[in-house]
Each structure stands twice: as structure tokens, then as C-alpha cells.
């Protein structure tokens, strides 16, 4: 059975590229348009990995991560940030919130798949 990844980003084109890359590697992808949508979808079905942007309306990535970590079902699920942010300060905030990794946009599909496979396997 395929593993499922929740991709959270307010950019439709970015979500399209993420979904294209992950599906090509055999993963199922659930898309969310902002942090609140991501939290709602995460609660509907526990996924194997969350890939989230930081700067989004309604609920940003760091807040989403904190909310997910408070859910028992998501205490151990890997969460990766995929964002334009690259400062050490933001990375530290991400780590403190509960993120397991930080990917700076734009992403290379091959490298994205390598990281995802390293984190959750095929």
C-alpha cells in the first residue's frame, strides 16, 4: 500500500509540482491550501508525512506544526518544511515547533524524493 503525504501550500502551482514529483515516485498525495486546511485534512486521515510551506494565510506552517504535534496521532509523524525561508532563525523556530527537516524552495524533484524516501521509505 502506498504511503500518503500531506502537501500544504497556498500556491497552487507549487502544490502541482510537489504532487507531480511525489506521485511519480509512487506516493499518494493529499493537498491543502493553507495551515487550517492542512490541519483539517490531517485530522480526517493520519498521513505518513507532512510537507508544509511556512508563509500562508489563515494559519502559517509553524502554527500548523505546533497544532499537529499536540495531536496524539501526529506526535511521531515526520514533518518537513518546504519554504522560501532560509534563515538560521527560522530553521531554529521550525525545529523548536517540531519540524524534522527544512527544504528551501525551489526544490529539485530528485532530491525531494531522496529526502522523503530517507524519512519514510518507499
Amino acid at each position: 500500500m502506498s504511503k500518503t503525504i500531506l502537501a500544504v501550500d497556498d500556491s497552487g502551482s507549487l502544490r502541482q509540482m510537489v504532487a507531480f514529483s511525489l506521485k511519480a515516485a509512487g506516493y499518494d498525495v493529499v493537498q491543502a491550501v493553507d495551515g487550517q486546511d492542512g490541519l483539517n485534512k490531517a485530522k480526517e486521515k493520519t498521513v505518513d508525512l507532512v510537507l508544509t510551506d511556512q508563509n500562508m494565510p489563515i494559519m502559517d506552517g509553524l502554527t500548523l506544526i505546533k497544532n499537529l504535534r499536540e495531536l496524539g496521532s501526529y506526535s511521531k509523524v515526520p514533518i518537513l518544511m518546504l519554504t522560501t525561508e532560509s534563515s538560521d532563525e527560522m530553521k531554529a523556530k521550525g525545529k523548536a515547533a517540531g519540524a524534522n527537516g527544512w527544504l528551501v524552495k525551489p526544490f529539485d524533484p530528485k532530491r525531494l524524493i531522496e529526502v522523503v524516501q530517507k524519512v519514510i521509505g518507499q
Partner: protein
Amino acid sequence: MGMKTLPITELRSLLSAVSDNGKQHLIEVEADLMQTTFLLSEAIEKLGASFMAIHQAVSEQQAELDILMKHHEFPAEETEKLTAYKQNIGAEVNAAVTGLQFQDLTSQLIARTIKRVNGLKDLLETLAAHGDEIEPEHEHDEIARFLAAMNHSLNARSDALTGGLRRSVDQQDMGSGDIELF
């Protein structure tokens, strides 16, 4: 010796003109940025759709080639060429996916610029509002205080504007970004 009167009326007119002219230009800047955002959004939608369609067609073609190669004997040279084409296509698809993320980055930069433009319009509004408070009959010291207060207000608003416009896109090119696992 008579005291020269301060050109208060002219000062008020100047502040008002700077505010009005500046705001007009900023309104045009904002309109151009909104149009740019819209066109970029349309462009990425079309590019994305075309990319997916081309990829689908190439994938189906490759699948047919794989079947042919499985069931027929091809000269080694031709087999090597087809394998190389396949690898090339894979590499170019990766490059295209990386490049197609341009709209995400540029739209964030444009959104930040629009926020700054709106902030500047507010600053110019403040300039004109303070100017309206200065009256011709005010004494020199009173006017100096008004101008100092105006300066202080503008500085405060400018600082607030800067504080609310944190730079989130530092990328100077479309090369893929760093990855770090904690």
C-alpha cells in the same frame, strides 16, 4: 525691523501636492503590480497544464518503446541511444519542475512590494494630514513643534512598515535550495 512671516500657506500646499502626486503614482504602481501578478498566475496555469500534457504523452510513448524493446531485438547502439534519451528526458523534467516554481517565489516578492506601496500611500496621507494642522497664525516655535511631530510620526510609521515587511524570499536565482534534516 519687521519679522518675516513664514510661508505657511505655501508649505501646506507643498505637503498636499507631494502627498497627492505621490499617491497617484503609487496607485499606478500598484495597478501594474496587480496586473503582473494576474499575468504570472495565468502563465503558470498554462505552462503547468502544457508541461503535464507533454509529460503524459512522452511517458506513454516511452511505455510503448519499452514494450517494443522488450519484444524485439534492437541494435545495441539504438538501445543505448533510447536509454540515453530516456535519462535525458528525466533530467530535463526535473529541471522543468524546479523552474516552474518561479511563480511561487515571484508572487511572494510582488505581494511584499504591494504591501510596501500601500504603506507608502499611508505615509503620504500622514504627511498631508499633518500639513493641514499647521495654521498661518501659528508662531514660529509652534510650527517647529508641528514639523518635529510630523517627522516623528513619519519615522514611526516607516519603522512599522519596515517591521511588517520581513523578507521571506532571498533567492537570487532558480537553483534548487538547501535541504537539512534535523
